[in-house]
């Protein structure tokens, strides 16, 4: 339906991507990252072809061994003749905007194999926008026909949580002895993990970290299940208007996150992780949790796009009214106040909206 809206160049890219042309896929992702005009129409056209890949998000503190684990997991998928797409997200320098993206180095077992598509992404100074770009790049890989898609990111803040939440299954990786890390997990990442991995499990302190995690998972379960009971699912979807703040695995959905021990460098435990990923995927399709997540993702996406576009519209008005600088100066010199400024800015938008709504009726 969106096909006729594509430019000739984009229509060609669209065709080539669906035919399995790797450089076309790479160029589509570049357009997504750059927000090149027309990328929305391209995604809109590709959307029909998405929804088949299994999408996994992997997060954890720096140095926990995420990339190595992703590499080993990829090798197993390739053994079973499955194609893999990987998006590795790294932070960028807030000063120069530049970045060195090094995750690729650790993904050596897939080197030279075109059926493993690895793409490195950086934040490029955009807050929030990165999760949109990541979700869109996942769609491109999905439409291309990748069986498995893995999104890897350094985890700590809300931004990372948003990114991994574009996945169906979220894996949180920690390393032994990271007692403080595990404490940190309480503050938000614990809720989003469907599977926990204690990597480098050949180190001392592994047992302690595993026990800590398990204790926390069970505490989380008993406290929330007791309080809310069986009505949890439907209540949450109708009442929660802020999906980004929603926790991914609602307690009481019948899934207890397993804690898996792995040694990324040797590959020990990676098949257990693969099994757990399979089990969670099955769980999603057999319970209504999968549908609930799809619905939530759609909701988040619509709201994000809406907010983004309205924000850009506001920027246009702002520019037209002399730009932020001059308005800031006028507030600074106490010639006016912030409330009046915003009222004046929103007025043209409001009038236009009201007029459109009236003619619609």
């Amino acid at each position: 339906m969106a096909l006729e809206r594509l430019s000739t160049e984009d229509a060609l890219l669209y065709e080539s991507l669906l035919e399995g042309d790797h450089s076309a896929l790479a160029r589509v992702i570049t357009k997504i990252e750059n927000r090149t005009p027309g990328y929305r129409q391209l995604l809109s056209a590709l959307y029909d072809q998405t929804g088949n890949a299994a999408v996994v998000g992997i997060t954890g503190s720096p140095g926990a061994g995420k990339s190595t684990l992703v590499d080993k997991l990829t090798r197993q998928y390739r053994h079973n003749d499955q194609t893999v797409g990987i998006i590795a997200v790294d932070p960028s320098s807030p000063y120069s905007g530049g970045s060195v993206l090094g995750d690729r180095i650790r993904m050596s077992s897939s080197a030279g194999d075109m059926d493993v598509f690895v793409r490195s992404m950086s934040a490029r100074g955009r807050l929030g926008g990165l999760s949109m770009a990541t979700a869109d790049a996942v769609k491109a890989l999905d439409a291309f026909g990748k069986d498995r898609i893995i999104v890897e990111t350094v985890g700590a803040g809300q931004n990372e949580v948003d990114i991994v939440e574009t996945a169906e299954t979220v894996v949180v990786v920690v390393q032994p002895g990271s007692g403080d890390d595990v404490q940190l997990l309480k503050a938000g990442i614990l809720e989003i993990g469907d599977i926990f991995v204690v990597n480098k499990a050949d180190m001392d302190e592994t047992a302690g970290t595993v026990a800590d995690l398990e204790a926390m998972i069970h505490m989380d379960e008993t406290s929330s299940v007791g309080a809310i009971g069986g009505h949890h699912g439907p209540e949450r979807t109708t009442q929660n208007t802020e999906p980004e703040a929603d926790d991914s695995h609602a307690p009481g959905d019948g899934w207890t996150p397993p804690v898996i021990q792995t040694v990324g460098t040797t590959g020990v435990g990676v098949d257990t992780l693969r099994g757990a990923l399979e089990a969670h995927r099955r769980h999603l399709s057999e319970s209504d949790e999968g549908m609930r997540r799809r619905r939530r993702r759609a909701q988040t996406e619509i709201q994000r796009l809406l907010r983004n576009d309205l924000g850009t519209l506001a920027e246009t008005v702002l520019e037209q009214r002399g730009g932020l600088e001059s308005l800031v100066a006028s507030v600074e010199h106490r010639e006016t106040d912030p409330y009046a400024v915003v009222e004046r800015l929103v007025e043209p938008v409001e009038t236009a909206v009201n007029e459109t709504l009236e003619t619609d009726e």
Binding site: D21, H22, S23, A26, R27, I29, T30, E33, N34, R35, T36, P37, G38, Y39, R40, Q41, S92, S93, S96, G97, G98, S99, V100, L101, G102, R104, I105, S108, A111, G112, D113, M114, F117, V118, R119, S120, S122, R124, R126, G129, N308, D309, T312, L313, E315
Partner: protein, 138 residues
């Protein structure tokens, strides 16, 4: 309507190819490019031409900088260029070579499609400037 602001960044792959373990130069270049605001993907050591081609295609980089100090450039670089051509990724990639390359080979590499060869003693700024000039946001 798509109301987005375009956010372009120059993407570079800094690659070490073949059996050459000297990566200080590649590290220095990677850092300088980062500080210049580019997005740098570093390949790691001992990459085969195939792997460089794979990374260049998938990452859709604007610049491919190959560091070679082993003297094997006359074999390895043509392989990389052939690979890029087969994936239709040669035309839109600026190919740079850094390292120790005799003058008579430089001309040959340039004839193959290498944009510039940077030898020992090249100022970092010169390299950054070259990238800005030839691979900046279009």
């Amino acid at each position: 309507m798509s109301a987005d602001q375009t956010q372009r960044a120059t993407r570079c792959l800094v690659a070490k190819v073949g059996l050459d373990g000297h990566d200080r130069g590649a590290h220095v270049i990677a850092r300088a490019f980062r500080d210049a605001g580019f997005e740098v993907i570093y390949s790691g050591l001992h990459r085969a031409p195939d792997e460089i081609v794979q990374a260049t295609v998938q990452e859709d980089v604007d610049v491919l900088g190959i560091s070679i100090l082993s003297g094997a450039h006359n074999t390895l670089i043509p392989n990389v260029i052939e690979g890029l051509k087969s994936y239709n990724a040669f035309e839109d990639t600026l190919i740079l070579v850094g390292g120790i390359v005799p003058e008579e080979d430089t001309a040959e590499l340039k004839a193959l499609g290498v944009a510039e060869v940077f030898g020992p003693g090249t100022a970092i700024e010169e390299t950054v400037e070259f990238v800005r000039e030839h691979a900046g946001p279009e």
